[in-house]
């Protein structure tokens, strides 16, 4: 089975010819910076949700953002995808620094996300939900699509094929036609991931992809995330509470606490960092 024509085909950063990257190229690709957050501060009235945080995300890596409740993780994701606008600091994505970005601009520039609480169209089928992720890629306007002839039809077939690859990838063929509202939570999370994948994102933001799942579902989800990263080269930033999962999945971890960055590094480094241990286990202030 062929890989979906995908991932970096339209990305300007792709310079190496061919798809198969030798180990050396891979390393070069890894060092390239996809997104950087510099001295970002976000306040809501008097509350500082994020204060003066800097970190970066490299192309092709799995980057985890962890921290205790209220540490500012979700706010950070919302800043990255343009939902919140930080009062201070800069965010550059693919080398372009931006001041203010709307979520739809973020989406069209290749950032997709899933939500902490599943946000699907519950009355629509799995297939339609994932198809909705393709809407940004649809070129034909409303009239064409209503007529459903010629180019519009061809376009839909091409998108449908792409979506079928995603359904196959996520092993959800058996629920293709079922309304998602009736599905168990673990499967809804998978559909949501599918919808985000449908955008062929370069950067995928996952907000607690494994919250509320049992062990088996977590293992499945971890496998999908790893495969997604290795097969399609998608860069992934994820928030997760399950430390075991984070340590297994992530290449690098940034740790937040009370809106501040307290550690940044490989899982092993972070795990042995005293600040992190204190933040998680609590310490007398």
């Amino acid at each position: 089975m062929s890989t979906p024509a995908n991932a970096h085909g339209d990305s300007p950063a792709t310079t190496e010819p061919g798809v198969v990257a030798a180990a050396g190229d891979n390393e070069a690709q890894r060092r390239e910076q996809l997104l950087s957050v510099e001295n970002v501060t976000l306040t809501f009235g008097g509350v500082k949700a994020i204060s003066d945080i800097s970190f970066n995300i490299l192309k092709g890596e799995i980057r985890a953002i962890i921290g205790p409740n209220g540490a500012g993780k979700t706010s950070m994701l919302n800043v990255i995808n343009g939902f919140y606008h930080p009062q201070k600091g800069r965010i550059s994505y693919k080398g372009k620094t931006r001041k203010r970005m709307k979520p739809y601009q973020a989406a069209s520039s290749g950032i997709a996300r899933t939500f902490q609480n599943v946000a699907l169209f519950s009355g629509m089928s799995t297939l339609d939900n994932i198809m909705s992720g393709r809407s940004l890629k649809m070129k034909r306007g409303l009239i064409w699509q209503m007529l459903h002839v010629g180019p519009a039809r061809r376009e839909e077939i091409a998108h449908r094929e792409h979506v079928e690859h995603i359904i196959d990838f996520l092993e959800i063929a058996h629920i293709r036609k079922q309304p998602v509202g009736k599905l168990p939570y673990g499967l809804q999370k998978r559909v949501e991931l599918g919808r985000a994948m449908a955008m062929e994102p370069e950067l995928l933001l996952l907000d607690e992809p494994m919250a509320g799942m049992n062990l088996e579902e977590k293992e499945d989800m971890s496998r999908f995330i790893l495969d997604l990263n290795s097969e399609f080269g998608t860069t992934i930033a994820l928030i997760e509470h399950d430390m075991g999962v984070v340590m297994d999945l992530a290449d690098r971890v940034v740790v937040l606490d009370y809106g501040q960055k307290i550690a940044d590094g490989t899982p092993a480094e972070v795990q042995s960092n005293q600040n992190v241990i204190d933040a998680y286990l609590g310490v007398a202030h």
Partner: protein
């Protein structure tokens, strides 16, 4: 491009005219049924098709590729995965160069799989996906002969060692290159097929083994071909049939239905999109020939019942009414007996309103012949399907017989029998009541296990089935139980465990039962509830539960099971032969019996001895006056890790019936 097939028929076995080997049939079909669809597979939501001519090309490319990799005649090739076209092609591709395919249960845990792969001495393994490749690689240290792993689905596998782990496509390209280098390669491939002798080893199937280690059953081309030809003749199966392949590849049934019979008859085999989509895929395909173990029919009926209970009042009324009509007239109509004009009119209406749509839902609207085997099927379940007009029949078979021992001829159906001897099969009942048979399908022997071969197969070709049974007046075989399992209670009463278990399992709330009683004072049972059915019942009755364990221990569930056991006791009391085997105590197990924990075989039969060992304390409690017992069980996950489940299991007493009391009650009500 194809070499003309040698259409000269060889006479093997003295009666049927047949070709000498399965690959011969591939060559024949590619010519005779050139443009007929041989195989379908649903991929990316679309059914893809291969004609017999396409199939030959695919098989030949792969086969030549295998030869390029150095596969020699006699080499064993493991096939591990779900029902996918490429895995079916592998059978023929390996056989064409004289190799021996060894299908392995895809869901076996690594250790179990290791035993089979090691015992068979496999050289290549063809795996479906990363999961199976990983499993085999984890066993690599123990598998000395293993050289190449070939995979079908490439996801996650590109980073693997390309010198050892190869893509199916890549191997086919190797085959193409061989043809490019030497145009004669195709012709010599066909010549090699012509040299296959009917008595050569065709396939090795490991029995799932209710006791002890799996044994490798060796079947020859002659075994497989003659049995399949006879089976095709018995049910007049032709190249027009369609069937869906969804049962484990390693199981002899699937090998015969989806491979042997398909090649010999030339009919089409459809592979579902995934194991989870079988029901909807079957509906799209509407097979004409269908096989399923009783469990599948039970599950389907459970889901119908559950759905009907959730349906609106009008629909439910209509369903109940017409199912009653079907109960009265359906079987008679199917058997071609006379029915009153009103009856046939009502049945006709039922067909329009209920049976037709229902059969369509089940994907059985075109079924001409459906079989169930492997275990006893509940008479009510069996009759239900037949009354809808589905020609469901029973057969009795074994891996050692290439499946067919007996089968029910059309129109001679009885829920309690397994039919008359299949074509060319002889049956005799040994002095101890054991069923024995002799047929052209009788296996060559167990691989590397002469001892077992000699104790199973006599010098003149009779095979011990291990099942006790008798032939009734109509010439139909009835199976009582596994002869090893039938025991005696301390008061001398007969204890047929299967018989009791099946009676209980016929309730849709009960999934599995294990009965004890041999050498005991009374009969007691373990019960496993059926989660689908009981969960739905719980929902309707506002019963809140957090887990399987909690639901199983719920007082209302106990009350329900209690009622079922009581009903079974009443049934047993009505039969003098087994009246003393009434159930005195029962418990509902806190976990589902699972093949991964070794409690069931891969074909989901109960492994009695293992359960006796594992749940010794629960059994002791059943034979004491305790009302509850604490138990801690280790469970194994599919990846080999293990965890623990602990529970305090309740035990209940059930009242029995007096044989005469039931009798007189029946008379009064009559």
């Amino acid at each position: 491009m194809n070499k003309p097939v040698n259409e000269q028929l060889l006479e093997i076995g003295g009666q049927a005219q047949s070709l000498p080997s399965v690959p011969h049939y591939l060559l024949r079909n590619a010519e005779r049924y050139r443009d007929k669809i041989a195989m379908r597979h649903k991929d990316l939501g679309i059914w893809r098709e291969w004609t017999w001519a396409d199939l030959l090309v695919e098989v030949r490319r792969f086969s030549l590729g295998l030869a390029q990799l150095g596969l020699q005649p006699g080499d064993k090739v493991a096939i591990i995965g779900n029902n996918r076209p490429r895995l079916y092609w592998t059978f023929a591709a390996v056989q064409a160069i004289g190799g021996v395919p060894v299908p392995v249960y895809a869901d076996s845990v690594a250790e179990e799989m290791g035993y089979v792969l090691d015992h068979a001495g496999i050289r290549f393994a063809v795996c479906q996906d990363q999961e199976q490749v990983d499993k085999v690689l984890s066993l690599q240290d123990k598998l000395v002969g293993l050289e190449y792993l070939i995979y079908d689905e490439d996801r996650g596998l590109r980073a693997y060692d390309q010198n050892q782990v190869l893509a199916f496509d890549y191997v086919q390209t190797l085959g193409d290159q061989a043809v490019e280098r030497d145009v004669g390669a195709v012709a010599s491939w066909c010549d090699a097929i012509d040299n296959i002798k009917p008595d050569e080893l065709c396939v090795m199937l490991y029995t799932s083994g209710t006791t002890g280690r799996p044994k490798g059953v060796m079947l020859s081309h002659r075994n497989l071909i003659l049995t399949c030809l006879n089976a095709n003749r018995f049910d007049s199966l032709s190249d027009r049939e369609e069937t869906i392949a969804y049962l484990p590849l390693a199981w002899v049934g699937d090998h015969v239905f989806s491979y042997g019979q398909s090649y010999t008859a030339g009919y089409c085999v459809c592979c579902p999109e995934s194991p989870d989509t079988v029901t909807s895929d079957r509906r799209e395909i509407a097979p004409s020939y269908f096989f399923a173990p009783p469990r599948v029919f039970e599950n389907l009926l459970t889901s119908i019942t559950v759905n009907m209970e959730d349906a609106g009042r009008v629909k439910r009324k209509m369903f109940d009414y017409f199912i009653n009509v079907a109960n009265k007239h359906g079987e008679k109509i199917l058997n071609g007996e006379r029915v009153s004009p009103i009856g046939s009119l009502m049945y006709g209406l039922g067909r329009i309103f209920v049976y037709g749509p229902l059969k369509n839902r089940l994907g059985m609207s075109k079924v001409r012949v459906a079989y169930t085997a492997g275990e006893a099927i509940g008479p009510d379940i069996f009759r239900f399907y037949r009354s809808l007009g589905i020609n469901l029949k029973q057969l009795y078979g074994q891996t050692e017989a290439s499946v067919y021992i007996t089968a029910q001829p059309d129109g001679q159906i009885d829920a309690d029998t397994v039919g008359t001897p299949s074509l060319d099969v002889e049956i005799q009942i040994a002095d101890n009541g054991e069923v024995m048979y002799r047929s052209p399908g009788v296996f060559l022997g167990y691989y590397k296990n002469d001892e077992a071969t000699q104790s199973t197969k006599t010098a003149d070709g009779w095979v011990h089935t291990g099942d006790a049974g008798f032939i009734d007046d109509a010439g139909h075989l009835r199976i009582i139980d596994r002869s090893k399992d039938v025991g005696k209670l301390n008061d001398g009463g007969l204890f047929p465990p299967k018989y009791i278990e099946n009676k209980l399992k016929f309730f849709s709330d009960i999934k599995e039962v294990v009965a004890f009683g041999d050498g005991r004072d009374y009969v007691s049972v373990f019960v496993n509830i059926d989660l689908t059915a009981v969960a739905n019942w719980a929902e309707r009755n506002n019963i809140v539960y957090g887990s399987y364990q909690e639901l199983a221990a719920h007082p209302d569930v106990y009350e329900m099971v209690h009622a079922h056991v009581k009903k079974v006791n009443a049934d047993l009391a009505a039969e003098p032969r087994v009246a003393s085997a009434q159930i005195k105590r029962f418990l509902v197990l806190h976990k589902e019996l699972d093949a991964d924990d070794g409690e069931l075989t891969r074909t989901l039969k109960v492994r009695r001895n293992f359960i006796v060992e594992r749940y010794g304390e629960l059994i002791d409690a059943l034979y004491s006056d305790k009302t509850e017992q604490f138990v801690s069980t280790t469970v194994t996950f599919e990846d080999g890790r293990s965890g623990k489940i602990e529970a305090t299991v309740q035990i209940q007493d059930v009242e029995g019936f007096n044989h005469h009391a039931v009798h007189s009650a029946a008379e009064v009500s009559a």
